[in-house]
């Protein structure tokens, strides 16, 4: 977006004052007409719904969005609710671990596959397969595997290893890691494919030059190749990050927030209050907080990335 915005802004500065309005509205008219439906969609669906959400989060609406304005009451209640607070901490913990591990494991897998191994495409397909499954299916499969009585633990105990314990899914302190296993299984393959594309984009002669310079392989990756993959990394972080924030279906299928409330997440909280709890005002307050969190993270990043004229490389 900044790519198109910058030249436009520069062009506008050069134009004489009488021509400015004319230029904004009449320049390249067909393109502007073609973009109108999308502009309308963005305005109504994104901006409109966000405004609607924020407005009704300040009301005491229950089953229908009809309540009267109550200021910050819903937010006070939100942060007084332990289920919400647990949800937020769960998301922070799961999100940071998921982001780091997906990137690291995805990168390492990509590096391994990039070693000109045999059956590369077979490995790639196997790794990417989980991504083709929905989170619901992923959650169900891992629920069976990790179920203490039916799954891995039960099977190994049945085979005679009676001391074997793998009950993370039922353990409030470990359930987040159970969630993490399923999430990583689902997402690392895709991250690997992205990283592999980035690795393949690195000129082979750069590798040769690094060998002549006597730079160890790990150092070449860290100091030369990873900086060259910046675009791919940003893409991967955005995709993984958006998956983390909207984390919902995996939790529903795998643990349904349990045991107790130990694996609740914000999206599930919002959904429950809006559609089954009959408390729209409370749900929308949660949704607004999620939006605010995303903005707090995104705005400084966008400023760093796109701000400052001509600073982009």
């Amino acid at each position: 977006m900044a790519d198109t915005a910058a030249p436009l802004a520069m062009g506008a500065e050069r134009v004489d004052r009488p021509g400015l309005l004319q230029r904004i509205f009449l320049h390249n008219v067909p393109a502007k007409i073609a973009a109108l439906p999308m502009v309308a969609t963005v305005l109504v669906v994104f901006v409109g719904c966000v405004a609607w959400t924020i407005y009704y989060s300040f009301t005491n609406s229950k089953l229908l969005p009809t309540g009267k304005f109550v200021g910050f009451d819903q937010y006070e209640r939100l942060f007084a609710t332990s289920r919400w607070n647990v949800s937020v901490w769960n998301l922070i913990a799961y999100g940071s671990m998921s982001l780091v591990f997906t990137l690291v494991i995805g990168f390492i897998l990509a590096v391994l596959i990039d070693q000109k191994i045999r059956f590369e495409s077979a490995f790639r397909t196997i790794m990417l397969y989980p991504f083709a499954l929905s989170f619901i299916v992923t959650g169900l499969v891992w629920q069976w595997i990790m179920n203490p009585t039916l799954g891995l633990q039960g099977t190994l105990r049945g085979l005679g290893w009676t001391g074997f314990t793998f009950d993370w899914i039922a353990n409030p302190r470990m359930v987040l890691f159970a969630l993490l296993i399923a999430g990583l299984w689902h997402g690392t393959g895709f991250c690997m494919v992205l990283m592999l594309a980035g690795l393949r984009g690195v000129d082979e002669e750069v590798w040769k030059a690094a060998r002549i310079d006597g730079i160890p392989t790990w150092r070449t990756y860290v100091s030369i190749v990873i900086p060259m993959m910046r675009g791919v990394l940003v893409t991967a972080v955005v995709i993984i990050g958006s998956g983390i924030v909207r984390l919902y279906d995996l939790v529903v299928a795998l643990t349904n927030g349990g045991p107790g409330i130990s694996s609740e997440v914000p999206a599930k909280y919002v959904f429950n209050y809006m559609f089954s709890g009959g408390n729209i005002g409370q749900g929308l307050a949660g949704a607004t907080m999620m939006l605010l969190t995303v903005l707090i993270i995104m705005i400084p990043w966008a400023y760093l990335e796109f701000g400052g004229k001509g600073r982009r490389t």
């Binding site: 060998r211 310079d213 730079i215």
Partner: protein
């Protein structure tokens, strides 16, 4: 003279494909060797073997008297410059030059001194704080040469360093590489498919085909006395004219019956009896008018195409039933359809055995 690089019986196979077979090459200290050939002839492969970027299947490589066949590239005492420059894009020019030395743990003062020297030699001091993305192609290639320079090595390897540049920059940088060689007096091995680069830069040229060195000699010998048909046809632009025929004693009879006396030719081997052979004459050794009259062979030829090239003119005609090009001064007016007298300078021509393709 002391050997700088010496290659013994080098063989390289990719699976069952033999890329290089029993290749031998000795390069003297301070010599500028050009490996020349079409793509796929094994010249880059040979360079990569010398650099240690490819493991050889058999044979040995010595650099400065040391057997380096199984050493890592960094321990071979070489610097290498690549076609795509292969700079580290996220680092400034200065970091590009110094990164290898810093990783090797060299003291900072020494690094600074070497970088300063390389920057001075290549005149890239004003560019040191820039990133490669903000440099032109020629500047990038200079930085790439600088990265080889700071390593302070005995042997420089160039892998088609000028192929990504436009014609003007290419000839500028060509002169600079030559100047660099005269100043540093290092051994340089230079791979190219461009014969002009080869002829202008090299002390000796190795012409390669299918992994075999066809001829290894100084540019003048390569140009004037090619050892076989392949070398004769590869070097020279426009290409040498070839007239197929039969050689018997000192008379060459072209396939259409034209008899050309070749007594003035300096034979490498004298053959007895009639031999199928090919007479090769370079376009500039076909003379016109008065000059043609002194030549052992003259004939009338009709001009078919005229290509004025500024300093000289190329003309297409037919002699002895085959198309022949000749080169003459642009002062001589030539017209299509005109009949002119052309004479062959047989003493400077070449004769090849049609079967073995070797020089006679």
């Amino acid at each position: 003279m002391q050997q700088s690089v010496s290659i013994r019986d080098l063989t390289l196979n990719f699976g069952s494909v033999k890329v290089l077979e029993h290749l031998n090459l000795d390069i003297a200290q301070g010599e500028f060797i050009v490996l020349l050939g079409p793509s796929g002839c094994g010249k880059s492969t040979l360079l990569n073997c010398i650099a240690g970027l490819l493991d050889v299947s058999d044979g040995q490589i010595f650099i400065s008297g040391k057997n380096v066949t199984w050493l890592e590239p960094k321990d071979r005492g070489i610097g290498m410059v690549f076609q795509s420059y292969a700079l580290y894009p996220q680092m400034t020019v200065e970091k590009n030059l110094s990164f290898g030395l810093r990783v090797a743990g060299m003291p900072k003062a020494e690094i600074d001194q070497r970088v300063a020297r390389a920057a001075e030699i290549l005149q890239i001091q004003p560019l040191l704080q820039r990133k490669p993305a903000n440099l032109s192609g020629g500047q990038r290639q200079r930085v790439a040469i600088g990265r080889a320079l700071v390593r302070d090595v005995d042997v420089f390897l160039f892998d088609e360093p000028l192929s990504n540049l436009d014609a003007k920059l290419r000839s500028d940088l060509r002169v600079e590489i030559k100047r660099l060689h005269q100043r540093l007096k290092n051994t340089m091995i230079y791979v190219t498919h461009d014969q002009i680069e080869a002829l202008t830069l090299a002390d000796r040229i190795a012409i390669m085909k299918n992994g075999v060195i066809q001829q290894l000699a100084d540019p003048a010998t390569i140009y004037n006395k090619p050892v076989n048909l392949y070398v004769a046809g590869f070097i020279g632009s426009p290409s040498m004219n070839f007239i197929p025929g039969t050689l018997d004693g000192e008379t060459f009879t072209a396939n259409d019956g034209t008899r050309i006396p070749v007594g003035a030719y300096d034979f490498v081997t004298r053959l007895s009896g009639a031999t199928k052979s090919v007479l090769g004459v370079r376009p500039e050794h076909i003379l016109l008018g008065d000059a043609a009259r002194n030549m052992p062979f003259q004939t009338q030829a009709e001009i078919e195409i005229v290509e004025p090239m500024g300093s000289e003119t190329l003309a297409w005609t037919k002699v002895a039933g085959v198309p022949v090009t000749f080169r003459c001064s642009s002062d001589i007016p030539l017209h299509v359809g005109e009949k002119v007298t052309v004479g062959f300078d047989i003493a400077r021509g070449s004769l090849f055995n049609a079967e073995s393709e070797a020089r006679l």
